[in-house]
């Protein structure tokens, strides 16, 4: 990847250096990349040092920001604009300008299912994960073996989404009722005398089954952040509240909850953004079949499998538009706290 990126750099760089085929070549490439980085860094510092005085400060700021701005422009802004243009040029992405892709997204039944699924994900995952994390954080707070209990629920965070999906695929594994079961969930059903089920095939339950995986992963994250926030509430405030006559649920409602509000917002929005972009779980477990697809998975499918890059781009734009309000809210909240 670095090689292709570098080959797009100005000419004059000796050709053999860029081939990462032999061990030596790889080392040369690494050395060159580091040297290039150092050279750019040195150049920025040198340019910045040329400006002095009060007006110079602004110029210095601009010079320091320039590499980042440049990379953002090339790596983010330019593709974003291209994507938006592509989304407006029909299914193939190179036809005449129209809103056909967008209207398709909101009229085609299968694409509407995608939107419905995404809505389900975005509503259920942040709230379930946060609720479970919060409940868990409160229950284990100052309990014996707290560190161990926390590690237990935090561990899923350390597993990749694909890994987690494979684990849960085993849990949901289907065999006919009279055959030996390898899926935990179906084994439980069997023990209690129920018929085994195809958890990943039956809509809309299958979407919920996928959502459980995400909640399983994110609850640990929510728990960690919220537990830290709960611990940060000063003891004397809790004591003052007890003297004021507040206990149990009211303590939670009037003291704990308002005190961890900021952390709650961060957790909800972070998980919300992560959920909007969810791709790996759906891709690994059902590949978006059986009415389980979500926007991120669908735009991949449309762009790279169904040969409809224009429609895929439209879905990417939709995803982008949906993330904006959450990010904005997050930033506004952070400003308020600061």
């Amino acid at each position: 990847m670095v090689a292709t990126l570098l080959s797009a750099a100005p000419s004059g760089i000796p050709e053999p250096f860029l081939r990462a085929e032999s061990t030596l070549g790889k080392f040369m490439l690494m050395f060159f990349a580091i040297a290039f980085f150092a050279a750019v860094f040195g150049l920025v510092l040198f340019l910045a040092s040329l400006f002095k005085g009060r007006t110079g400060e602004k110029a210095q700021g601009a010079i320091f920001a320039a590499p980042a701005v440049l990379l953002l422009a090339v790596g983010l802004m330019y593709p974003a604009i291209l994507t938006i243009i592509q989304s407006l040029r029909g299914k193939s992405g190179d036809g005449s300008f129209s809103f056909a892709n967008y209207s398709a997204m909101f009229t085609q039944p299968e694409l509407l299912t995608v939107l419905r699924n995404t809505a389900l994900w975005v509503i259920l995952v942040p709230f379930l994960a946060t609720a479970i994390g919060l409940l868990y954080a409160i229950l284990i707070d100052r309990a014996r073996g707290e560190a161990f209990a926390k590690a237990l629920i935090f561990l899923p965070m350390a597993i990749s989404m694909v890994g987690a999906s494979i684990i849960w695929k085993f849990v949901y594994q289907y065999k006919q009722t009279d055959r030996p079961q390898i899926g935990l969930l179906n084994q439980i059903l069997k023990v209690f005398g129920f018929e085994t089920r195809q958890f990943l095939l039956d809509a809309p339950v299958n979407t919920l089954m996928l959502i459980i995986v995400m909640v399983w992963i994110q609850a640990g994250f929510a728990m960690t952040i919220l537990s830290a926030a709960i611990k940060a509430i000063p003891d004397d405030i809790i004591e003052a509240a007890r003297l004021d006559g507040v206990y149990g649920l009211r303590m939670f409602r009037y003291i704990t909850l308002p005190s961890i509000r900021a952390a709650l917002v961060v957790v909800l929005t972070t998980i919300g953004i992560g959920t909007l972009k969810v791709f790996d779980i759906v891709r690994t477990m059902t590949a978006g079949q059986f009415e389980t697809s979500v926007v991120a998975n669908e735009f991949y499918n449309q762009s790279f499998r169904y040969d409809a890059p224009g429609l895929g781009a439209a879905m990417a734009v939709l995803l982008f538009v949906l993330v904006i309000p959450i990010v904005t809210y997050n930033i506004v909240q952070m400003r308020k706290e600061a």
């Binding site: 004591e239 007890r242 003297l243 004021d244 006559g245 409602r253």
Partner: protein, 400 residues
């Protein structure tokens, strides 16, 4: 949403007196008698062998301002927290009025506490902070507003009622914490070093304000501090604690004039009392070259040495060769008078007390117009009518 368990009574005592048109505590016969009694109250922290508060006995009168004072780790805050219900009582009992509150939860004790760091609820406005306990108790909204406004007027907080604690200065926050306690009109105020986060000037001002406010409201108050000046200036009575054990409980004057033991003698008063271990002699004790007359009865059972205590203002600078010889180290000029810090020339004579290994100087107050020079030798002896004699072993007071 959760205000169904509203009770306007806390522990059987009305929270406010509507008919009098004021929220201030109004005595209602014997009901409102808020004496406080520590009866052999003991607190042992789990994992500790020695109790943090060891069989504490104090009787506090209705309306009294009692100050718990002592060095850090002496158990004064723990005692207060036991009274608040924030700390378990492992032995003995605690009474408020005629109620045994030993095992009651904090909310049922009808006490209000001012915390060292004020413990204001950061997400509530000043008014909500002050009215929170009443809201929880289910008091009517208009009534809460009225009482909060009256308390705010007393504390000069009216213009800050809608602010959040974050937007207040340290002194204002301290007053909000006071207001939160006042609004509840509890039977007992508990204050845990409420002035320690204020700057020196504000601390002196607020000290006076709290003392006068307490007298105005007439609410029994238990106040914890490590500062003996605060204790002396504010308290009706002072209780000195050390290592969880009550050393003495008396009025400031009594505490100053006849400390019960060496610890109290050294703790109360600034600059501290000079405590010198001296040998017993015929007809008294030997203080340098001087024999101080002490009644034989007082010395009975005191061993061959006793500790003589003398406050700096009771030190008399005598003639050469008469009394204890000192080398002057430092002279602090205060205008009207001066404090002389000296060390006994005789190395064998050591002063008692002091909280570190440093040699403790002998302090004498002298006339500001006749001040000895640094390095000069002076001879001092106590004014025998203001002299304290303590047992060298137990530290207990021997003289009367």
């Amino acid at each position: 949403m959760l205000t169904t368990t509203a009770d306007t009574d806390v522990g059987g005592f009305p929270l406010y007196n509507g008919s009098s048109g004021t929220f201030l505590p109004v005595k209602e016969g014997n009901d409102a008698m808020a004496t406080v009694k520590f009866d052999e109250a003991t607190r042992v922290y789990p994992g500790n062998d020695t109790p943090s508060v060891d069989r504490l006995n104090i009787d506090i009168q209705d309306g009294e301002f009692l100050v718990l004072v002592g060095p850090s780790g002496c158990g004064k805050s723990t005692s207060l927290r036991m009274l608040a219900g924030l700390e378990e009582v492992n032995g003995g009992k605690i009474w408020i009025g005629d109620r045994d509150v030993t095992n009651l939860s904090p909310k049922d004790r009808d006490v209000a506490m001012v915390f060292q760091n004020y413990a204001l609820y950061p997400h509530m406005s000043v008014a909500d902070n002050m009215g929170f306990a009443l809201k929880i108790a289910g008091v009517d909204k208009g009534e809460i507003r009225k009482r909060v406004e009256e308390a705010a007027k007393i504390l000069d907080l009216t213009q800050y009622l809608d602010r959040k604690p974050k937007a207040l200065s340290g002194g204002q926050r301290q007053r909000v914490a006071m207001g939160r306690a006042i609004v509840r009109s509890p039977q007992v105020f508990l204050m845990d070093e409420p002035l320690s986060n204020l700057d020196a000037k504000l601390r002196v001002q607020t000290r006076t304000q709290i003392a006068s406010l307490q007298r105005r409201l007439g609410v029994t108050t238990v106040y914890v501090t490590h500062d003996q000046t605060e204790a002396m200036t504010m308290g009706d009575r002072i209780a000195v604690l050390k290592d969880g054990i009550l050393q003495q409980c008396a009025t400031p004057r009594e505490m100053y004039d006849s400390p019960a033991n060496v610890f109290v003698a050294g703790f109360i008063g600034s600059p501290a009392m000079n405590l010198v271990s001296v040998p017993v002699a015929d007809g008294g004790v030997k203080f340098g070259s001087h024999t101080l007359p002490v009644e034989r009865d007082s010395l009975a059972g005191g061993g061959s040495n006793v500790i003589v205590g003398v406050r700096p203002e009771d030190v008399e600078v005598g003639n050469e060769g008469d009394g204890l010889e000192l080398t002057v180290d430092v002279v602090e000029e205060l205008g009207a008078d001066a404090y002389v810090y000296g060390t006994p020339t005789d190395d064998a004579i050591k002063l008692e007390g002091g909280d570190d290994s440093l040699v403790k100087p002998f302090i004498a107050r002298v006339d500001g117009r006749r001040v000895p020079m640094k390095g000069e030798k002076i001879w001092v002896q106590p004014n025998s009518s203001h002299m304290h004699v303590f047992n060298a072993e137990s530290g207990a007071r021997l003289s009367h």
